[in-house]
Symmetry: C2
Subunit: 401 residues, 2 copies
């Protein structure tokens, strides 16, 4: 089928574009290279040496014969986006083109406002462009499990039946997002539900957990195709950071008690989930929500798993609890449903099988590129203005708890 991937130069977007292309879909990619610009802004880089997008696409074509068309532009520019949708007339648009880091949105007011305006306007533009030029198109939008927060009840997939004072209704699951970024995704979700209702659009909101790993079958074809592996305090996810810390013998830095529990998934499952959503489109007027993760772990459990895996490779890494920069519960109930994608045919990869192959080996292979100064949190939720200073080496002395 004809699929357009917005944000196809990013971590999940790149992996998804290649996977869909290999599966025989007619894939095009939209990107404005914002993600690469943010690395420059923050003075960080992916552990893996990723190539320019044009080079990656050329390599993919030479290796596989599959051509992926590239449209360079910003989804907040309606003229650009709507012209692209009009030209392509895709059957599905997969929307990864958002600022996706909670800490980035918490740096200061400008970053909070940027994140919300960028994400909300991009998604509104997409909904209007589809309404205008390709109303049958299925919007597959990346949301996040972080939209739900950590309620003291089971988390359902998007909607919940509420019984109240003798009456009952199925309502959007109440949201308690924990950063200006997560809030932007909640805003998107509400906007998207409304657009489906009034215009009869088709949408699937994939509330994704924390993604780990960088290796998919496609990127292993050639070094030129290698995907991002972010481990810095802003864009890095916790599991990547632990692996990189273990690779250089740095303590695994757990925020607070480490009881923060979240849903996780392997990037190989991300790309499969996206395809499953595309292959099984929502009905007209339907805004489906799938919780897209395969296992849930606490941060401390992850640290212990990495510590063990490191030992198998001869790496010793202590676990160190440091003051967390976020305002979040360090111990809480967490039970989130995630059966709908399994019902569609997802066969999960499990972390216990992937940790050595897909994470530790990458961390070790590119060990020389690790910048330990980017490990420590400098963006604090309580502060309205974070001044981020880059030092040449990490110092744990002030923050150990």
């Amino acid at each position: 089928m004809k699929v357009c991937v917005l944000g196809g130069d990013g971590y999940c977007g790149w992996a998804a574009a290649l996977y869909l292309s290999k599966k025989g879909h007619e894939v095009s990619v939209v990107d404005n290279f914002a993600r690469r610009t943010w690395d420059h802004e923050l003075g960080v880089q992916t552990l893996t040496p990723i190539q320019p997008l044009a080079d990656r696409l050329r390599a993919w074509y030479e290796l596989t014969g599959h051509r992926i068309e590239l449209f360079v532009g910003d989804v907040t520019d309606y003229d650009f986006l709507s012209t692209t949708i009009d030209n392509l007339r895709p059957e599905a648009v997969v929307h990864f083109a958002e600022q996706r880091a909670a800490p980035y949105s918490m740096i200061d007011r400008k970053h909070a406002v940027f994140t919300q305006v960028n994400n909300v306007v991009g998604t509104l533009n997409l909904l209007f462009a589809i309404r205008e030029f390709q109303p049958e198109c299925h919007v597959v939008k990346l949301g996040t499990m972080g939209e739900y927060g950590t309620p003291n009840i089971d988390i359902e997939e998007g909607y919940i039946r509420v019984e109240h004072n003798g009456r009952s209704d199925v309502l959007p699951f109440p949201k308690q997002p924990g950063s200006f970024y997560h809030l932007s995704k909640v805003h998107d979700s509400h906007n998207m539900m409304f657009a489906c209702k009034i215009w009869g659009l088709r949408a699937t909101d994939l509330n994704q957990g924390v993604v780990y790993g960088t290796v998919t079958d496609e990127v292993t074809l050639d070094e030129a195709l290698i995907n991002r592996f972010d481990y810095d305090e802003i864009f890095g996810t916790v599991l990547n950071r632990f692996c990189v810390q273990a690779a250089v013998g740095h303590p695994l830095t757990v925020y607070g008690k480490g009881g923060q529990t979240r849903g996780f998934l392997d990037i190989r499952d991300t790309v499969r989930c996206v395809e499953l959503a595309c292959l099984n489109p929502a009905g007209r007027g339907e805004c489906r929500v799938y919780n897209q993760f395969t296992e849930q772990f606490s941060v401390l459990e992850l640290a212990e798993m990495v510590q063990l895996a490191g030992r198998e490779l001869g790496l010793e890494a202590e676990i160190r609890h440091i003051a967390g920069p976020r305002v979040e519960a360090e111990q809480h109930y967490y039970h989130a449903k995630h059966s709908k994608l399994i019902d569609l045919g997802l066969k999960p990869h499990y972390l216990s099988d992937s940790l050595l192959d897909s994470l530790m080996n990458i961390a070790i292979k590119y060990r020389d590129r690790i910048d330990t100064a980017t490990f420590l949190p400098q963006v604090r939720w309580e502060s309205a203005k974070n001044e981020r200073r880059r030092s040449t080496a990490a110092s744990l002395s002030e923050t150990v708890i």
Copy 2:
């Protein structure tokens, strides 16, 4: 107390500023005259001939000796807003400074994006400015009952206890807003809850119903103080429109069956509620939600009340059902709680007592200024692009159902 009213040149903002000033509070007003600009854009005007803000403020001072300080600027301009907050150091900020018309937000993509960016960024700026310069300040923010939509269960005041799979939690009430404007208010609500949680700000979210009336004790002092009375399809509210229609013998245009039920309140209650919220500030870290309305009516009930009141004044007006421009349920369950402001001391005015004095008499007094071409809905929810054409006279022929 020291109160800053954002949006003090608007309908509710002006009435609130005068009321608070008369009650002895030290009032300042922030406005960028956006509301007057939208009238120019749409080719409509308030029924009542309102004076320039500077003239109104001068008249108020001359009549009462109370000075209201004016700061002209846009709340989406952080330098302006934060400097103003820093200079004033208010104890409470009452935030009316948003684009508040659902139909305006539904005109087309630009108006939808404008409404969401304007409202979300203004509120984010306010939260950051208070965090930075006056963290003890109480934010009294106007929300809307429209955030809840029309669920099939009782609507609580902001939060609901949900029992689910044997567990229980108090969660934000699920929102089902019905326009891009209402969505912007839901976005604001989520952002504000988060800011209170992470920064310990104090906030009250006043989820207001549909306000009617233009007469408050303060504005009746002098014609120079008269408040807005909007009846056009975009900014006019349904009750105002019915009164104006009755005054010129035009059919009362009910959208669809008229079973749409909403909460309503007299503008004299709006200003009292705002003062009650200011006098009883939220605690640090608390984001309270009050449902601010006094009675609920269906649209058809309102039409019948206006028809009867008109008869008492010798005006005959038929009720005509026309195709509604909105996507909304025309018959639905509606029961919304609204006891918290009563508990704080609100003594409601009731529509049955106000209809003749505060509405019909204004409509008749300014009958010569009525533009019947603005009655009919031209902005349709199903359309992504509404071309608004102003005709010189209303034609009902196409839309009668």
